[in-house]
Symmetry: C2
Subunit: 219 residues, 2 copies
DNA sequence: CCCTGTGGCAAACAGTTGTTTACTGAAACC
DNA sequence: GGTTTCAGTAAACAACTGTTTGCCACAGGG
């Protein structure tokens, strides 16, 4: 029933392989909602997928390698999202509102991905930590480039721009973490707490924006 | 050789018990430098201490319970430190320098504790996460109280003060994480990277401080 | 001085883990 | 159409896990 839905350029062979690979990633991500990567067992994952333990090795050498793959999957979508927000040139107040709403939306749509990144950013698996750090750094560079292009940054040193970008990225990650942690509670209070978090995030961004406007730019 | 160094009010019995309990905590903390709590085994800890696995249950029901104990131990010292910084009323510029230096110092002295908190703040063990969150919240309240007492906060709403306190606490945790992550590299670059992190942190705090000064206080 | 409370021990338990081995069947290639 | 490639299998491996049991040695209070 789905033989025509696979990209024509891929053989049936490779398509099937990619399918189980994705199944492994999905199963791992689901299991990681309630534990951390360094305690996630290979057999645990294959059991959920319904595949023999040895089959795991056809796709990943380690659980660490699977983790790195999850990092890429998780941060790719975020990349797209924030790029869209940065693209539109608008009033500061409005870009703040849009950013916070975009983050909230992203968390609503990919809660497991966000949780995974927040958890493993300082987690027990070195390779995964480094993958996340590298991706967030590229992320910061991107934000810095966007900031530098704005007239509000005239006369700013590159380091100062990068510093501000870091502040924004850190704040974004903290806000996303707060959202995803709040959604773990019962859905009754979920809405209220979500709005409280968004409100605080907006005020914090407004304060930062204010500090930015009064930053002593070297001539 | 140390029979006279124990507090006289404790019997030999309780003193010995506390000693092995502390040994368990220390061993766990050391092991947690390279893995996360949810993957740390009970036997692993007792093996390092040199004690039978069953002995563990005389002190903790779970690894989770041990984790909560570690949270208290880890954040107690930080509490003391930041209280000292907040106590002294000084020029904004100087309080920033002192704060960053105090954080750097604290990380240098208790790297394992800081790493543990950063790792388990979003880690896989619910009870530990909640313990950390609760402690950080109390922490934020304390900072908020100190901020409210300053004349720079005249006319601020309580929510705004709490929002600013949250920003400071988050920033403190992020900075501490950055320090401890940097110290994992080779000691050659350690000094340089440490100064870079401190420098960025100071500039970020300065920008926040600037935003604070220009925040529209309701009359 | 004896008795009780208890921190720690050794042993055994059923499960689970990661990894290797030789294999099968079907897609892909010439 | 025969042959090669390879994703997935089943079974076995030693090593490890958390937890329970009965026991001992000994500090502390009477």
């Amino acid at each position: 029933m789905n033989s025509s839905s696979t990209p024509a350029t891929l053989g049936v062979r490779q398509a099937q392989k990619l399918k189980t690979r994705q199944a492994l990633l999905d199963a791992a991500l689901k299991l990681l909602e309630e534990q951390s990567l360094s305690s996630l067992g290979l057999r645990e994952v294959t059991r959920v997928v319904g595949v023999a333990p040895a089959a795991f090795y056809r796709h990943f050498r380690d659980m660490a390698e699977l983790g790195v793959a999850l990092v890429e999957e998780s941060l790719a979508s975020l990349h797209v999202m924030i790029r869209a927000v940065l693209a539109e040139q608008q009033e500061a107040e409005e870009v703040i509102d849009r950013s916070v709403e975009a983050v909230a939306d992203h968390v609503r749509r990919h809660p497991a991905h966000v949780r995974f990144v927040a958890r493993e950013r300082h987690g027990g698996v070195r390779a995964v930590r480094e993958a996340i750090a590298a991706e967030l750094a590229r992320f910061g560079d991107e934000v810095a480039a966007a900031l530098a292009a704005q007239e509000a940054s005239r006369g700013w040193s590159a380091e100062d721009v990068r510093m501000l970008a870091g502040l924004y990225v850190d704040h974004l990650v903290m806000t996303a973490s707060a959202f995803v942690e709040a959604s773990a509670d019962d859905p009754a209070e979920e809405r209220a707490e979500e709005r409280a978090i968004a409100d605080t995030a907006r005020r914090q961004l407004r304060l930062i924006s204010l500090g930015r406007r009064h930053w002593p730019a070297a001539s």
